[in-house]
């Protein structure tokens, strides 16, 4: 498939799932009610469509796109099909930031929790970017990320351990399971700023990802400023992941699976895969959120639970089929 038609097809699919996500929900509406709701945003139906469902669907799309893009960048940079946004410890850093804010009794203000999550993610991301500029080998970076991830996880567990309030522990757990419920346009706008910056950095680093196909030494000898490009890729992925975690908590598997869904269509190209991965990630998260809303359960299913529940088997299937092409 040619890349423009792939991007067009994915964009159409995203528009479809977004439309479905706004149309479907707990309250079923007649076509006439939809029409009225769209025309009068202030009406009760308009309120449901414009203030509840639409921002929620868009937040899901934005989070999915950030995770899909970030996952593709990580896989390209680390030359590893198993890499994902969380591998560098950025998600765990975000989770820790949110946990600390909630345990400190700041959960009444979602903005504070979001900011704390973003700060945690960026702190972790900054540490990894410094490591990325210094160490050439992907393995070193992965090990560093694993250590950082484990450390942030341990600190989060410590917060649980020391927290005197079971209520805040439940809130932390709920936050860590990921959700885009009750997000408004302002939340999305706040998330979009770091995401746009991250996407810009990733676009700048795209040629380095392509060159990394043949390994670090070939890339360095090709005349590209690899140290700078590598740091840009890591910083970009960290900004995207951090902003996604701040907006929706921890949503697993999307960053891992999205690039694999489109890899064959771009013939493995780690630079051309970026935009299709972002679109595939957006589709996956919007779908997952929609499933969480329409499946009739006592308690609404959390986004992170659904992405992992569907993502893991789907990923295993894709991995099974693609395994042949990974053998070097």
């Amino acid at each position: 498939m040619r890349r423009p038609s792939l991007i067009l097809g994915l964009s159409l699919a995203l528009a479809l799932v977004l439309a479905a996500s706004i149309m479907l929900g707990e309250v079923s509406l007649s076509p006439a009610q939809y029409l009225a709701g769209f025309q009068q945003p202030g009406s009760a139906v308009g309120e449901i469509l414009w203030s509840l469902r639409a921002p929620r669907a868009v937040a899901a799309a934005v989070v999915g796109a950030a995770l899909g893009l970030s996952g593709a960048v990580m896989q390209g940079l680390l030359r590893n099909p198993l890499a994902e946004p969380g591998i560098l410890g950025v998600s765990a850093g975000g989770g820790l930031g949110a946990a600390v804010a909630i345990a400190a009794g700041l959960a009444f203000s979602p903005e504070v929790v979001e900011t704390a999550a973003l700060a945690g993610a960026l702190l972790a991301g900054g540490a990894v970017a410094v490591a990325a500029a210094r160490f050439r080998e992907p393995e070193t970076l992965i090990l560093f990320g694993v250590a950082l991830s484990a450390f942030a996880g341990a600190l989060t567990a410590l917060v649980f351990n020391l927290s005197p309030s079971p209520v805040s522990n439940t809130e932390i757990l709920s936050w860590l399971m990921g959700s885009v419920a009750n997000r408004d346009w302002l939340d999305i706008a706040r998330g979009l700023v770091p995401m746009a910056l991250g996407a810009g950095l990733c676009a700048y680093a795209a040629r380095a990802l392509l060159m990394m196909t043949l390994g670090e030494e070939t890339a360095v000898m090709s005349g590209l400023p690899m140290g700078r490009l590598r740091a840009a890729a890591v910083a970009g992925a960290a900004l995207l992941t951090g902003a996604a975690v701040a907006l929706a908590g921890i949503v697993g598997f999307v960053g891992l699976a999205a690039p694999h869904l489109v890899r064959a269509a771009v013939k493995g190209d780690p630079a051309r895969i970026l935009v299709p991965s972002a679109l595939a990630g957006a589709i996956l998260v919007v779908l997952a959120d929609l499933i969480g809303r329409v499946v009739p359960t006592e308690v609404e299913l959390k986004l992170g639970v659904i992405t992992a529940l569907f993502g893991a088997p789907l990923f295993a299937l894709v991995a099974w089929r693609a395994a042949r092409s990974w053998r070097a």
């Binding site: 196909t213 043949l214 070939t218 005349g223 400023p225 013939k267 493995g268 190209d269 092409s325």
Partner: protein, 253 residues
């Protein structure tokens, strides 16, 4: 005119271990220089040091007359193309896209044309669209040589370009590199097979324990004494209609 590659008194360590111990060598336009030596003799480190990829503790490496440390990455890429020993390709890009990575300085259309031409020189035109991970090891190695050719650099540095390949692929790659030298490139390569080295290289540098054990025309460099010292084998030159051959035997004590 300065040598395409010149290294003087190179001393380098890898992981705290001294690997190069005062090595000097040069490669000029139009010649193929073979670097030989037992495993661990320092061949790869020498090539990497010459390109500035390994820092020197002492000595200097120059590309076309200029200290490699003073060259910008872009300028260095302009002066030397490098084919590392590592042949792992992360993603199954079509062969022409891999070859085109040698010509990143060119606009897309020209890079593609350069890549296709390079693939043609290694006999892979029919497989230009095939994913590299769906190819045999030999075909992939040829694609990587095509990428090296696509750099169009005046100095081509190839680390073990024929290791692990079948005889036909070995001959093809050696002939391709010889042809590059014939049209003016300086070629430096590491190689294990002595007969290949003797037939395709103008000059040989034999390393032993991080120092030059012998240097010169193949016949002057690979004397029985050098073969015994550098490789621990007893060797004899045989003349055949197809060219010289070195017959090797284990030294029995």
């Amino acid at each position: 005119m300065s040598a395409a590659l010149e290294i003087h008194g190179a001393v380098a360590s890898v992981g705290g271990r001294r690997v190069l111990n005062g090595v000097s060598l040069s490669a000029n336009a139009g010649e193929v220089v073979g670097v030989l030596g037992a495993n661990g003799a320092g061949k790869t480190t020498l090539l990497r040091a010459a390109l500035g990829l390994v820092p020197l503790d002492a000595g200097v490496a120059r590309l076309a007359g200029d200290d490699v440390r003073r060259l910008s990455v872009a300028e260095r890429a302009h002066r030397a193309g490098y084919l590392p020993q590592e042949r792992r390709v992360a993603w199954s890009l079509p062969a022409w896209r891999i070859a085109a990575l040698g010509a990143v300085d060119l606009p897309d259309v020209k890079a593609r044309a350069t890549a296709l031409q390079a693939l043609d020189r290694v006999g892979l035109s029919p497989l230009a669209e095939r994913g590299v991970l769906e190819m045999s090891g030999g075909e992939r190695a040829r694609v990587l040589v095509a990428r090296l050719l696509a750099t169009r650099a005046p100095l081509l540095v190839a680390d073990e370009p024929v290791a692990g390949l079948d005889p036909a692929a070995q001959l093809l790659i050696c002939e391709v590199l010889r042809r590059e030298a014939a049209v003016g490139a300086a070629v430096i390569l590491t190689v294990h097979d002595l007969t290949t080295a003797v037939r395709y290289c103008d000059r040989l540098v034999v390393l032993e324990g991080g120092a030059v054990a012998a240097e010169g025309a193949p016949r002057d460099a690979l004397t029985p004494a050098v073969l015994a010292r550098a490789f621990g084998v007893s060797g004899e030159w045989l003349e055949t209609p197809a060219g010289p051959l070195i017959s090797l035997e284990t030294i029995r004590s």
